[in-house]
């Protein structure tokens, strides 16, 4: 698949020179490098509107993303989403009572937990997680259309899946 990553042009230079680094922390799908699936427009919008980079300072990188071992969690698919929800509920029920529950606990941390346990027991990393999100600022009560503006994001956990990084232009 093709992924687009919006960033500051200085960061883009560094990525082109030495590759991506994984983001850590409480990211929405957990640790990894984030892309919009074949969508340079969303990648650019994200860099400008969410990250606040000026348009003149924004670059969009295009990469080919190939799963190395086929371990893809695709939360746009019903079966994957239902399984994720079941596991997430199970974790939540087990920690609900704890007074030490982290206030920032959310989907990203839960996915990190699952992926870590998967690696420990199966010996393979989860290559990537794909999910759909509502476009930031989209109004669900839009009076003109019922079709929501969505964005499809890919969180690449296994960096060996990323190849052929180049600057995307002319979109």
């Amino acid at each position: 698949m093709i992924g687009h990553h919006g960033t500051h042009r200085e960061f883009a230079r560094s990525i082109l020179a030495s590759g991506f680094n994984r983001s850590h922390g409480e990211q929405w799908f957990g640790d990894g490098v984030y892309f919009f699936e074949d969508d340079p427009v969303e990648a650019k919008n994200w860099a400008i509107k969410i990250k606040g980079f000026g348009e003149a300072y924004t670059s969009v990188l295009r990469s080919t993303i190939n799963s190395v071992n086929g371990n893809i969690i695709d939360l746009t698919k019903g079966k994957h989403w239902e399984a994720f929800l079941k596991i997430r509920k199970e974790i939540d029920e087990n920690i609900d009572k704890s007074t030490f529950r982290n206030k920032i606990y959310g989907d990203g941390i839960a996915l990190n937990f699952m992926c870590r346990q998967f690696f420990k027991r199966v010996g393979e990393p989860i290559d990537l997680i794909k999910a759909g999100l509502k476009h930031p600022g989209y109004d669900w009560a839009d009076p003109i259309t019922n079709i929501p503006r969505m964005q499809y994001q890919i969180c690449v956990r296994n960096l060996t899946c990323i190849a052929d990084i180049k600057v995307e232009e002319g979109f």
Partner: protein
């Protein structure tokens, strides 16, 4: 299918994990905080941390996998024991 395998892994995990191991795994993942007492320097008074005064204070901090947090709402750089409230307030 990957999520079948994941569900199987997690079912197996929950049915075999000990309480002690589960707690360790949750702390490692940042889901639970591990409380620890730490000597920190409070460099500015703040309304949002009313129980602490300027100067050295021994306070409870909560270690996650990535940050230390001081109740109610502080995060500071990992491995640091210096909190500048002017930066986080």
């Amino acid at each position: 299918m990957i999520m079948d395998k994941m569900a199987e892994v997690m079912d197996q995990y929950f049915s075999t994990v000990t309480d002690e191991q589960f707690e360790k795994d949750l702390i490692e993942a940042g889901i639970l905080r591990c409380p620890d007492k730490m000597e920190v320097e409070i460099v500015a008074e703040s309304l949002v941390l009313p129980n602490y005064q300027k100067g050295m204070e021994s306070v409870w901090v909560f270690k996650t996998s990535l940050t230390y947090q001081i109740e109610p709402c502080y995060a500071l750089e990992n491995k640091s024991n210096y909190i500048d409230l002017r930066e986080v307030a």
